[in-house]
């Protein structure tokens, strides 16, 4: 295997590898990258993958029409036919969730995408340009940041004629970019004065090349973390918005199910399945995102990892003020 790669590279003689080679290398690199990730991130990615899959194919497998309306007047507990029970009007909660996953996930992803793009543009620009541009952009992002977003969203979305995913995602993006921008600005500021950036300028590189090829690749971790954080924020906020009724009630999302549960007095009726399943879905989806960010954090800051070394020392816990361990019968581990 090893040899083959070597031969390949010599054949190519430093030329750009052909596309299939590139693709397989990318895939192999991706697989290797995944393996190197901390366990938490792996778990998070797998859970998120399941949700993405459901978002794509879920509606096809929904056993009932989520809008189905029967004459029944009581919510029905879970049974063989209705795994997650039914709503007061007889809607199948399981089907509603299979259909609603898509809307919730899409809203999160769109918001994450727009907000992260804004964050990268504004944060990097502020950090790289410095001076008055930085002052202005920073002031702007900080003002948006301290604004309580939820009431503002309620007010803005209240005025909009339609409150589907896309308008909600756009307004959410407009309010959720500043956190990422702030982090990226700080990182850009510290990178900008690093010698390798000065050196690239010294070589004669143009500013756009420096930003794209020298600065941004060093911020991939932060950009990813900012994206994941925004998706989480968007999902939680959109669910909260739907829950209080700022939503398009003709479609289905996790928040919509919860809205109907609340307005149908599910708690008072003891119909726990009506809100526990969608609520749990939000929590698990959110947890997968938190775990991914956890993993990204540990990846970039090894200090945060729970120390495996401790475990091998046979100690349960350790305080930083403890004296250096003395282990006289120590046998070196062989790798």
């Amino acid at each position: 295997m090893e040899q083959q790669i070597l031969v390949n590279e010599q054949d190519l003689g430093g030329q750009q590898p052909a596309l299939p080679g590139r693709l397989s290398r990318l895939l192999r690199g991706g697989a290797r990258g995944f393996q190197r990730l901390p366990l938490k991130a792996k778990i998070g990615i797998v859970i998120l993958g399941i949700f993405l899959l459901v978002a794509i194919i879920g509606p096809i497998f929904a056993p009932y029409d989520p809008n189905a309306n029967t004459t029944q007047s009581q919510p029905g507990a879970p049974n063989i036919h209705h795994l997650f029970g039914t709503s007061a009007t007889g809607g199948d909660i399981f089907s509603q969730m299979l259909v609603g996953t898509r809307s919730t996930v899409i809203l999160g992803l769109i918001t994450g995408l727009i907000a992260t793009t804004l964050a990268v543009l504004i944060g990097t620009a502020a950090g790289y340009l410095g001076g008055y541009a930085d002052e202005g952009l920073s002031l702007f992002s900080n003002v948006v940041l301290v604004m309580p977003a939820l009431p503002l969203l309620v007010v803005i979305l209240g005025y909009l004629p339609h409150t589907g995913e896309v308008p909600t995602a756009i307004v959410l993006s407009a309010l959720s970019w500043p956190y990422g921008a702030r982090v990226l600005r700080a990182q850009t500021l510290s990178l900008r004065n690093r010698d390798f950036v000065l050196a690239a300028r010294e070589v004669g590189e143009r500013p756009w090349r420096i930003i794209v090829f020298e600065l941004l690749p060093n911020q991939i971790g932060l950009i990813a973390a900012s994206f994941v954080g925004t998706v989480l924020y968007a999902i939680l906020t959109s669910v909260a918005l739907a829950f209080i009724g700022v939503t398009d009630l003709s479609t289905w999302s996790y928040g919509d199910i919860l809205y109907w549960a609340q307005s149908g007095s599910a708690v008072e009726l003891g119909a726990w399945w009506w809100y526990v399943f969608p609520g749990l879905a939000v929590a698990v989806l959110g947890m997968s995102l938190v775990l991914i960010n956890f993993g990204l954090d540990e990846f970039s800051n090894p200090r945060l990892r729970s120390s495996r070394v401790l475990r091998r020392l046979g100690r349960r816990s350790w305080r930083p003020a403890d004296p250096t361990p003395v282990i006289r019968d120590y046998v070196e581990a062989t790798s």
Binding site: E202, E205, P217, N218, R308, D322, T324
Partner: protein, 667 residues
């Protein structure tokens, strides 16, 4: 863990007599380290950072611990007082503290490795205090200086807060700081003052042992000299013993009673300072001594120590220094390093190399080692003028706040083909600002820059690329100046591509390899596709230089190109720059704080102080006969083994005091 008599320094030390200045107390060390082994656990196998080390510190003695970074000297010191954290563990050895004050409680000495957390608090600070390396980070930023001194006192001494406060005043005055500064927060103090505070803090409870870990690294030579003199004075008054850790062997030759040299986690030589001053025995010690350019005597080529230290994972067979050793023989790969009394030397002078005798001349292989041409001093007035700065001036600040700081004031300099001009000064003298003005990173406030006699505006965007193809720069920190995400090839290809825009094609592999060959990164195939983190500091700096050469410039600006590198590697890089200047007739501006290295290969030296050039002249002449008082102070403050005798000469002390006042005043 051998206990062979020749390894037992206590025996040899006691009989040594005159070799130790202050060995007045009862025979026997105050800190006794025996067979200490420290490992850093890691996934890829343990790093054996300290291997079976013996070390003794006698009352009132200064023992210097020297070696390159990664040799285990700091690990040894911190491990001995159990301040290292996992993954570090102590795997073998004994550390016994024999303090006079503890002799009643612990008649056989205090067993440091056997002590509990509570037990260690008994000896920490009260008996063994530490002055840490980075004064910047070793003070708690949110506590006033006085609180940090007082809490150490109150943790160990009975008495009221008022008494502790009075003691703090006393201490701070002792190290030459006004008592009012006790109310200051650390960020309000200069680097030198912070280090003085650390020293005052360490001496708070009259400890018997003070460990000093690179206490003056990062400080200017003048401040360094002042602080060291203060330490020596206090040591004489208070009688503590010092374990002084530094990479700068020449510093130890000035202050230490005994020098212990470490390599690859082991002690390779331990000797009274006088023995080391006359040349040392172990090839590594000799290599270290040969790495420092001198300020006196003839301007000579130096050998340095080629190569890099070994990986410390796993057990080493044979002498670890063998691959870098001029004296190496086949047998070296088999023998284990064992310290043994050096034949014909003072008792107590031990070396781990059984092959090399004191005073044995370097073998022909080392003599013949192709030392580059280029360190001979050239006539500074001849040579074609390429780049010159006329009345350069740079002000910072202004605007609404109104405070203007002039960093550079009326500086004139001329860079000629094949000539090296050294710009020497302390931090804040404005020397780096000149590099920024000449490279176009910053716009000057006044004066003009002439390229081939024509005025040019380097920071002008339209002229920038053309200017860059003539004037290139090498950065100080090789660990920061390469993008960690790009390979060596990428860095060089970009530099080539930027300066060959007409063809529009990707620079060929051959061009990249030619650049690598120019900076002696051979075999090129090994370095071509490497990432920066796979290279050593010296190799990275070579890549940096290769990148600067890609544009085929006529002028090279080198801003402290070796100050971040280990002493043993500095010469290689300076030699490379010297070689390039004679091969390509480059005009070079060498910016440094180290006047001895400027003397090593510059043709002209400009001394900068407070933004102005206070003295200039041909390198040899200026160093040997400095006329300006500041130049004299700078030279007198630079560590130089040869000037040991004149250390306490009057003018230096007077100037040092003046320097101290200046620093206090500037706060």
């Amino acid at each position: 863990m051998s206990t062979a008599p020749e390894r037992d320094l206590a025996v040899t030390q006691a009989t040594e007599g005159g070799g130790v200045q202050a060995g007045t107390g009862p025979a026997g060390p105050v800190l006794d380290i025996k067979g200490l082994c420290i490992n850093y656990r890691s996934e890829l196998g343990d790093v054996r950072a300290v291997r079976d080390v013996d070390l003794e510190l006698h009352p009132g003695q200064i023992v210097g611990l020297a070696g390159e970074s990664g040799c285990g000297k700091s690990t040894l010191a911190y491990g001995a007082v159990r301040l290292l954290r996992p993954p570090a563990i102590v795997t073998a050895g004994n550390v016994v503290y024999h303090g006079r004050r503890l002799s009643g409680v612990h008649p056989n000495g205090f067993d440091v490795l056997g002590a509990t957390d509570k037990g260690l608090q008994e000896i920490r600070w009260r008996e063994i205090a530490i002055v840490f390396q980075s004064a910047m980070n070793s003070l708690n930023p949110v506590l006033r200086v006085e609180d940090q001194i007082i809490d150490g006192i109150r943790a160990h001494m009975p008495g009221s807060y008022q008494q502790a406060h009075a003691r703090a005043r006393e201490l701070i005055e002792m190290v030459g700081i006004k008592p009012e500064r006790l109310r200051a927060y650390p960020h309000e103090l200069s680097g030198g003052m912070r280090q003085r505070v650390m020293i005052a803090m360490a001496l708070a409870i009259n400890p018997e042992v003070v460990i000093m870990d690179e206490p003056t690294t990062g400080l200017d030579v003048v401040v360094q000299k002042e602080i060291l003199q203060q330490v020596l004075k206090l040591k004489d008054e208070l009688g503590f013993a010092v374990l002084f850790i530094t990479h700068d062997l020449s510093l130890l030759l000035e202050i230490a009673d005994r020098v212990v040299v470490m390599y690859a986690g082991q002690v390779v030589e331990s000797a009274p300072t006088s023995e080391v001053r006359t040349g040392g025995t172990h090839p590594y010690t000799r290599g270290l001594l040969g790495s420092f350019p001198k300020l006196h005597g003839p301007r000579v080529k130096l050998t340095g120590i080629p190569g890099t230290p070994p990986d410390l994972r796993g057990a080493a067979a044979g002498c670890p220094f063998q691959p870098r050793c001029f004296f190496a023989q086949d047998a070296c790969a088999q023998v284990d390093m064992k310290l043994a009394q050096v034949v014909g030397a003072v008792t107590g002078h031990v070396s781990a190399c059984p092959l090399v005798k004191p005073g044995q001349p370097l073998p022909d292989s080392a003599q013949a080692l192709a030392r580059p041409a280029g360190i001979e001093q050239q006539d500074i007035a001849s040579g074609e003028l390429v780049l010159s700065g006329v009345n350069l001036r740079k002000d910072y600040g202004g605007g609404r706040r109104g405070v203007v700081v002039t960093a550079v004031k009326d500086v004139n300099l001329e860079l000629r083909r094949g000539r090296v001009v050294a710009l020497v000064g302390e931090s804040g003298s404005g020397k780096s600002t000149i590099a920024k003005l000449l490279s176009g990173q910053e716009r000057r406030t006044g004066g003009s820059i002439l390229l081939d006699g024509k005025e040019i505006e380097p920071s002008n965007r339209r002229q920038f690329r053309a200017y860059k193809s003539e004037v290139q720069m090498v950065f100080q920190d090789p660990f920061a100046s390469l993008n960690p995400l790009h390979t060596v090839r990428y860095h060089l290809q970009r530099a080539l591509a930027v300066h060959a825009p007409r063809t529009g094609r990707q620079p060929s592999q051959a061009e990249v390899e030619r650049l690598l060959d120019q900076v002696r990164l051979n075999p090129v195939a090994k370095f071509r596709d490497a990432y920066p983190h796979e290279l050593s500091g010296g190799q990275r700096q070579r890549v940096s230089i290769a990148r600067a050469l890609a544009a085929e410039p006529r002028v090279l600006l080198a801003d402290e190109p070796v100050s971040m590198l280990d002493v043993s590697i500095r010469l290689e890089i300076l030699d490379l720059i010297a070689e390039l200047r004679s091969r390509y007739q480059l005009a070079i501006l060498y910016i440094t704080h180290d006047i001895a290295s400027a003397r090593y290969f510059a043709d002209e030296i400009l001394v900068m102080h407070h933004g102005e050039i206070v003295e200039r002249g041909p390198a040899e002449e200026l160093v040997l006969n400095p006329t300006h008082p500041y130049t004299q102070l700078l030279i007198a403050s630079s560590p130089d083994p040869d000037t040991f005798a004149s250390e306490d000469s009057a003018p230096v002390a007077a100037s040092a005091e003046e320097g101290l006042n200046r620093e206090v005043a500037s706060e």
